[in-house]
Amino acid sequence: MYSRRYLLQSLSAGFGYLAFAGLSSTASRSAYGNGQADSQNPLAPRQPHFPASAKRVIFLCMQGGPSHVDTFDYKPQLAIDHGKRGKYGGSLLRSPWEFKQRGDSGLWISDLFPNVAKHADDMCLIRSMQCDQPVHPGAMTQMHTGTAQFIRPSLGAWTLYGLGTENDSLPGFVSLSPPAGSSRNYGSSFLPAIYGGTKVGRSGFGQRAQNVANGESVPDISNPKLSERKQRYQLNLIQSLNREKLRRDEYQPGVEGVIESYELAFRMQDAMPELMDISGESDSTLAMYGADAGPTQGFGRQCLLARRFVEAGVRFVEVTHGNWDQHANLSADHQARAEACDQPIAALLQDLKQRDLLKDTLVIWGGEFGRTPAAQNGDGRNHNNRGYTTWMAGGGVKGGFCYGATDEHGYEAVENKCHIHDWHATILHLLGLDHEQLTYRYAGRDFRLTDVHGNVATDILA
C-alpha cells in the first residue's frame, strides 16, 4: 500500500522533503492501481496511463445552472411551440436570444456569447449532459466528485493524484475564489490532503478592496518580521515537531496533512506573489480579458490568472462564475451574467492559442445542470438535470463539433447521453488516465472517481 507515513517518516533530514524529491527522478510508476509511487514526492509529475492529449485543465465552473436552450443548444422547435404547454407542465418559453451559425463549422451558438462564439471551430459542445441531482448543492457536488451522497475526492484532486504537478512551489490544484461553503467540491476527501484544491482569493465582494489594502495577492503570504533564513529555521523546528508527533502516532492523516501544508506554504511565499501580480501584463492583454474595467473586470482577472497558473505548471485550475440561477428575470440576468464572462472566456481561448497552450490545455465550461424549456414565473426557467450542455476546447477534443442531443424542446438528452460519470471518464481519458485504473485504496476498497460507471465519449476525441 502506498504509505504516506513511510515517505514522510523516512526523511529525517530537516526541511524540505519536496525539495529533495524534486531533484530525484520523476520515473513513472509501475503498479498505478494500488497507488505505488516510485517517487517520494507525492506531487512529482507522473506518466499517465497512455499518451495524453491534455496536460492540464482549466475548468470554468458556471454555478447556478446556465440555460442550455439560451446558449449552446439551439432548439428551433421551442420557438415555434412558444406558449404551448410543455411536456411536464408550464408553458414553453422561446429563447429571448437569437441563435446563429458560427465559424466554418457552423455550430449554433446564441447571441449571449458573441465573443466565445468566435472560437466555435475550437469548441466541442456536449449537448446531452445528465446528472442525478435536481438541486444546486447536490448537483454541484456530483459535478465535482461524482456523488452527492458521500464526501469524495474532487475531479481536480483525482487529476493531481494521477499526474502530479509541474511546479512544486505552487499548489497543483487551485480554485480561484470559490463560493463560500463549497470546500468539499475541491477537497481531497480520503486522498492525501496535498491533492486537495488550494483556495486562492476570497469569494464575494470584499476581494478587490482587501487585495489592494494588503498589497498582498494571497492573505498572509509574507512574514512581516522574519528574514527568509530565520523563517526557514522556524519551519525546520515546526516540521521536526510535526514529524516527531507522526512517528509517535504511527498513522495520522491529519498530521501528515499539516506537514504537507507547511512544505507547500513555504514555497508559495515566493511563487504566489509573483504569479498573482498582473501589473506586468500589457494594457492590451488586460483589455483583451476585460480585466481593466467594467462588468468583465472580476472574471477577466480570474481568467488571466488561470492562464498564468497553467503557464506556471499548475495542473488543474478552477474558476467559478456564479449566479446563473434565473428562476425569474432570465432575460435581464442571464444577459448580465453572460456579459461578465463572454469576453474573458474568449480572451482566455485566444491567449492560450497564441501561446500554443490550447493544444494541450483542456478548457471546460459548464454548470451543475441546465434549465427547463418551460417558463417559470413568466421570465425564468427551472432546474433541468436531464438534459443540458457543457463544452470543452483544446486538449485534444474535436473542434467545431457537437456531440449528443436533447429532445425537440431541450428537456432531456436523447442521443449519445453523457452522464456526469461519462463526462468524468472522458476528461480523465483526455489527460491520459483510465478512469477504471485510477483508483485509491481506502478502508479496504479501491475507490475511483466514476464509482462503477462511466464510458468515455470517444466521438469527441480529436
Binding site: P134, L235, S240, E244, S261, A265, G378
Partner: protein, 920 residues
Amino acid sequence: MTVKIRHPFQASWIFICTIAITVITVGSVSGAEPLSAEQVAFFESKIRPVLVKECYGCHSNKAGNVRGGLRLDTKQLMVLGGSSGPAVVPGNPDDSLLYTAMMHLDFEMPPRRKLSDEVLSDFRQWIEMGAPDPRETEVAEIKATITEEDIAESKRSFWAYQHPVDSPAPAVLDEDWSKTKIDRFVLAKLESEGIRPADDAEPHRILRRLCFDLTGLPPTPAQIDYFASHYREDADRAIAMVVDRLLESEQFGERWGRHWLDVVRYAESTGREVNMTFPHAWRFRDYVIDSFNADKPFDQFIQEQIAGDLMPAPNDEVWAENLVATTFLAMGPKNVNEQNRVQFAADLVDEQIDATTRVFLGMSVACARCHDHKFDAIPQTDYYAMAGIFGSMTTYFGNPPSEYGTFSTAQNRRSSSLLVLPVDDPNPYDKSYTATELEQVKSQISDLVGQLSNLRRGSQQSGGQNAIRDRLRITNQLSQASAKLAVVDASGNPRSYCMGVQESASPRDARLLVRGEIDQPAQTVRRDFPTVLREHSATIPSGSSGRLELARWIGSDENTLSARVMVNRIWQHLIGQGLVRSTENFGVTGQSPSHPELLDHLAVRFVDSGWSVKTLVKEIATSRTYRVSSDYDETSHHQDPDNALLWRANPRRLDAEAIRDAMLSVAGKIDLDRPRGSEVAKAGYTRVRDGVLGDPREAARKAAEQARAEVQASMRQSMAGSRNGQSRDGNRGRYSQGRAGAGQRGRFGQRGQGTFRAGNGGFDRESAEATAREAIRRFTNRYTNQLNMEDAEFRSVYLPIVRDQEPRSMVVFDFADSSSVIGSRESSNTANQALYMMNNQFVINTSDAFARRLISDYSSTADRIDAAFGLTYGRKPTQGERSATAEFIRQFQSDGATGLQTLSALCQSLFASAEFRYID
C-alpha cells in the same frame, strides 16, 4: 404511479419522480363569487380589448415579454403584479399600479402616450367594481405521488419514524471494562467483531480533551498536575469532579452555544448581493450561551426558538427572552434585493421551514417545495401544511420605520421592521439625540422629501440620467436619515429592539404551488405537521396559526426525532463523529446509526433527565468510551478503518475558535469577560460592502484623511529631526512592528495609532512618498480588515459574523458557513492555514505576548521551554523535541536574533505545530 422510497440511488427513478407531479384539473375551486353577466360584459367590451391592444405586447406570456416581471394576461398574475408591486388592487384604483401608470402618475403606460379619458374612466370604474375578471385560471389540484400507504409503510419500517426504546444493556464478556451503560453498548459491538478497545489515555491527555471539549480552552500545567495526582488515586472521581467544575464555568455555554450557533446558521447580516447588517442578532447569540449555561431544558429551548413570542411569560424579562429566541426564525440569509415581494415572502417561509426541520428534526421538508420528496415519505402537501403555519406570521429583521415611514433604496428593496423589547435594554452603541439634533434630522428629511417630489414633477418633462442619479442619491440619504430617527423615542433616547417574529392577525392556510412557482397556485392545504412523523393531525385552535402547537410538538418526545437528533449532536462533539454521521439527515438518504440501541438509550435518558444537556454531557464524558486513548492499532484499523465501532478515541483537530482562544489563553492575553453587543451592533443598520461595515468609499476617504494627517505630522517631525541632526535609523524596525505597538486597546480592539517616522535621517521626496504609501496602506487595511478584529482579545464566539465576511482567523480553520445549517464542520489541513500560522499578525502578536509572559514568569531558558511545552501541549518536551528546540535557538541566535525574538519564534512554532491543534 407508485413510488418506492427505498431506492435512493437509481437515476431512472429519480427522473420519474421529477416529472411525476400529476396535475388533475378540477375546475375553479378558488371560492370566488361567480361573476354576473354585466360584469363579464363590462370586462369583455371595455377592459380586455384595451389590455390586448395596449399591454400584452410587453406584459404577456404570449408575447414572451414580461417587462418589469409583470404579466397582465391572467387574473392571478395581474393581482400578483411585477417588481413594483400588485398591478391591480380590487376596489382601490389609486393603489392599483395599472391605473396610476395609465394616469402617468408614477409610471407612464403606455410609454409616451396617454390613453383616452374614456378608457381611463372605464378602468377606474372596473377596479372600483372589484376588478371582476373572467380570465380565472383553472385551479389544479396536485395529487401526491406518495400515498397514505407509502407513508404508513415508511412509518412501520424505517427506524427513525419509530419511537426510541431503551433496551437492556447487552451482555459483555469483559464485565469490568464498562463504567456506564453507554460502554456496554460500545463494548458489545467491539466484542462481537473481535476488536479490543484501546487502553485508557494518559491523564494529561484526558484532561486536555475534557477542557477543550467542555470549554474550548486548554488546561494550565498546574491543573494538569493536580488532576494527574487525583487521577492516580481515583480516576473516576477525578474525572467526575473536573467535569462538574467545567460544566459550572461560564465558558461551557460559550463553547456549546457556538456549536448551536453553527446549526441555527447564526449570522449578523442578510448575506447575498445586498448584505444588510442585523445589528441586534447578538442578543440571540447571548441568549443561546446563557441557555446552555443555565442548562435550560432542551425541549423548552426548542419551543422558545420556534414560538417564543406565543409562549406565556410570567414577567417582562422572560417575555423579552422569549422574543429574542425567535430571532432563530428571522436571521436566515435573505435576498433583500429581490424585486418581487411575493417571491421574497415565499423564499422567507421556505428558509424557515428548511431551518426548522433540519435543525430540530434532522429531516428536510423543504425538499418538498416543488414536488414530493424524492426519497423520504414527505409529500409536497406536507410542505404547504407547514408553509401555512410559517406564512401566518411576520418576520422582523430590518430596521424600524421612522414617523416618515421606510424608504427602500434601489438595492435594499425588502425592508422590514424590528420588535420592541418589553424591557429597557437598548443596543449599547445606539446614539442618543438632543432635541436640536432631532430637529436637524427631521428638517433634513422634510427637505429631502421636498427635493424628491420636485424631481418627480420635473422628470415628467426632462427625465434622463441626471434625474435617475439624483433620485437614487436622495433616496439613499432619506433612508439613512429616517433610520437614525427610527431607533430613538420622541425625546431622542434609543429604544430596545430585537429581531424575531409575530403572529399574523388572521392566520391562513397556504395554497400548494405547482413546482413551487408563485404564479401557479393549486389547492389549499390545511396547516399541519409532517405526516410521517405525527400520530394524528394537529389540533389548531381557531384564530391561531398552529405555530405554538408545532413548537410544542417538535419540542417534545411526541415526535420520534428531536431527542435523537440532539443526543447525536452532543455525542458527535464529544466523540468526534455522530452515531448518525449525517447530523442533519436522519432520512432514508442519511447514514444509518452505527449503534442504534445506544442512540435510543441516550435519547430516552435525555428525555427522562428533563432534556438536560449537561447531564448527558457528563454521562458521556465520564464513560470509558470517552476515556480511551487514540493510539493506533494496525489490526483494529484493518478491521474498522473508520473507527465506526469506537475501538479508540478519534484524534480531532481543534476548531477555529478553540485554536484562537487557546493561543490567547496560553499567551495570558485572553479576556474572558463577555463584550456587550458586537462590532456589527456598533455599526448599526447598514450595508456591508468590500468587508466594510458601511460605505467603503466613505471608509477609504476616512483612511486617506487619517493617513494624510499622519504623513504631514511625520514630515514636520522629520524635518525638525533632520535640523536637529537626529538619526532615525533605529525607527525602521519600530515601524515594521507598528501594528504590534502598544496602542490603547479598547474592548473592541481599536487599533492604537502606531508611531510612524520617516525612514531616513533627512527629508527627501522618495521617502516621503514611501511614507505616504505606507500610511495609506495601513489605514486602508484598518478599514478593510475591520471585521477580522485581529486586536480583539475576547473569546472567538463574540467576533462579528457577517455573512461571506467572517473573520479570517475563523474561516481559515473551516468555520461553519454561516448561511447554511451546519451540524458537522469540515476539518482540513491546508497551505492557507500554514501561511496563517507563519505570517498572520495576530499569530505573531500573540506569540510575542506568550514569549514575554514566559520571560517574566521564568528565569532560565530551560524552564521557559518546559513551560512553553506545558502550556501548549500539556506535557513536558521529549528528548527529541528538546534537541530540536536547542538547535533552533542556536541557529536563530547565531543569525543575530535577540532572546525575545527567538523565544517568540519558538512560541509561534508551538502554536503552528500539529500537536497544538489536535486533541488526541
